[in-house]
Symmetry: C2
Subunit: 149 residues, 2 copies
Amino acid sequence: MKKVEKISAAENYAAATIGNFDQLSEHLFVIAPDVEVPGKVFVGEPLQSTGAEVSFTVVPAGAGGDFLHIHKTNEELYIVLKGEGEFQVDGNHFPISEGSVVRVSPDGKRAWKNTGNTPLTMICIQSKSGSLQGLGITDGVVLEDKTDW
Amino acid sequence: MKKVEKISAAENYAAATIGNFDQLSEHLFVIAPDVEVPGKVFVGEPLQSTGAEVSFTVVPAGAGGDFLHIHKTNEELYIVLKGEGEFQVDGNHFPISEGSVVRVSPDGKRAWKNTGNTPLTMICIQSKSGSLQGLGITDGVVLEDKTDW
């Protein structure tokens, strides 16, 4: 079973690695002693995230789509890294593949499945719906300090 | 110049695609008429995100590291998709590669550069620091409804 490995950390940051994406299926997300999800890993706890929870998921060929879910307070963003799949929200179906990004509001009834012959690899981002104050680069501040490399 | 293309949208979701990651350099982020960043694309506006802003970045071999930046209110999470690089926060340096994830608090003075011979491709997630109410699967609610495929 693969683990998230620490890279570096200090007051204002934490860095870790989940390993190469083709090894994602070696991760095992343990929900309960008898409920384990292979190919799923959350990084919020190892990174001590406070604004967003990120998880990586790999869905084997022919798998997925078993259940619908909604959220209490979080918006979700899905990013497809590899593979081909179908996504549904509130009964609307659409295809997903590398570079697809999907935003789902808390109430959206969502599910996805792998429709291809290779693993479907996705990133899922949870963040509190309505919490963001500005899009794009409006929140960033470029510093005059020189970078030391 | 490549654009974000709409896939599907309705009340509770929006889906779009940035295209394959090897075409990321064809995107052009226009900050001002004379300030353009190739290989950078934000998806918050096309997806109407309200909890997190996601951007994709490709840094060519030999590039990056020109400036440090901080944030006003947002935590950032960086996910490395491809390539090799070096990241720094508050003067602490560490290597990044496929599967690396980095959380940076608003005050962290951050920069990164490509140290390899291939493009360094990253996802950057901005979300409001301290806004998340629960990590992992605590916010999700699995429904009894059957999925229709």
